[in-house]
Amino acid sequence: MLRKILRVREVVSFIRDAIENANLNDIWVEGEISNFKEVVGISYFDLKDEEALLRCVHFSPNKENLKNGMKVIVKGDIGIYEKKGYYQLYVKEVKTHGIGELFIKFIELKEKLKKEGLFDEKFKKEIPKIPSKIAIVTSPDGAVLHDMLNIISRRFPTNILIAPVRVQGEGCEEEIVNAINELNKRKDIDLIILARGGGSWEDLQAFNEEKVARAIFNSHIPIISAVGHETDFTIADFVADKRASTPSAAAEMAVPNREEIISLLHVFEKRLVKVVEEKINLYGRIIEGVMKRKTFLHADELILGKIEDLEYKIERMEELSKRYIENMKNTINIRFEILNAMSPYNILNRGYSICFKKGNKVVSSVDDIYIGEELRIVVKDGDAKCIAKEKKKLDLKKH
């Protein structure tokens, strides 16, 4: 590649790639300010140490009141300004106070714990929406605790356990660690608030201690961290499950507003009623739909029709049976007449007589009679015993 003749832009591009690959982004650099100038709201300066110099640009007017000779720590990205052919640090943050050992330690620990994953989102626990008992680890004196209790009492009175600790001074981090560990031994706490009011960077140092960070990380009870002012970020804030910008904000984060919950319940009730109403209406409409069908609307007509039908049939049956009975009666009468006509008693009534011989046998021929035989003659009103005196047979051919 070095054989051919390169263009300027190619070389610079090559260097830019090399710089980008180096990934010098969000780096903190300490040094002394020199060559400071502010032009059109942009600050230009060099950072130098005993052996080297780094060009810096900060797209911001000189808010920090930087002067040549000041020792600062700045955060930024290394990039290349191609048109002018140099690389520089594009500054994002400038720290002039609280620097030195403390700040360096802070940055180093922060990087270390971040690499270990202590700040990872996936380890952060959900805080309960409505905690049943909150533990507050804070100084028992001062306005911080008092303010938090007021806010909680106003929003949603809850059971509180106070774990009093020193929040600054030699060895106070031990107390904080012990408090967190003791609380974790209990079974009744579902939220911890670790709080401390505003103060100087030095005052907040307990919350930058590694053992405090680990105690927070290892807590199985979720922790809200609220340390210092809104713009203060301590390591505790990064490890905690939630960070509040102030202790008062933590109190508001910890409990819901009673009024909101009451509204929510109201809405829930409405929704419940609505669902049931709709269900009932739905069934009502189904029933209505069914009732609109002919079967229901004209049910009475249909029934009446059927009843009429039935009545007609009954009438017919009555008629038919009457007629049948009449017929029967007639038939019986006719037969009766016939029978009657054939009845021997009829014959007797007409004046004829019946002749019986011994053994109640009817005499129907002269041949049956013997002269001198006893015969019985029955007439309509009685009978007489007779003896046959003589007999004569008729020649039936003549008749």
Partner: protein, 68 residues
């Protein structure tokens, strides 16, 4: 909550259960009887939550263990 031995449901749990019931009801797939019984359960939970809110009071205690 009349019988003492009964484990009372926590406030947050109650609210969550209530929300679940409402979502299930709003799906509209339950038959009428179940709808009514879930409705009753929901209303009971609403009442319970309301009671808890009315009765809520702040009790403050201090951690006695030696943490110095």
């Amino acid at each position: 909550m009349h019988c003492e031995g009964e484990k009372e449901i926590g406030f947050e749990e109650a609210l969550k259960k209530l929300e679940e019931i409402i979502e299930e009801l709003e799906k509209g797939e339950l038959p009428l009887e179940e709808t009514i019984s879930k409705f009753e359960e929901g209303i009971k939970l609403c009442k319970l939550c309301r009671e808890k809110i009315q009765k809520a009071e702040m009790k403050i205690e201090k951690l006695m263990e030696d943490i110095k």
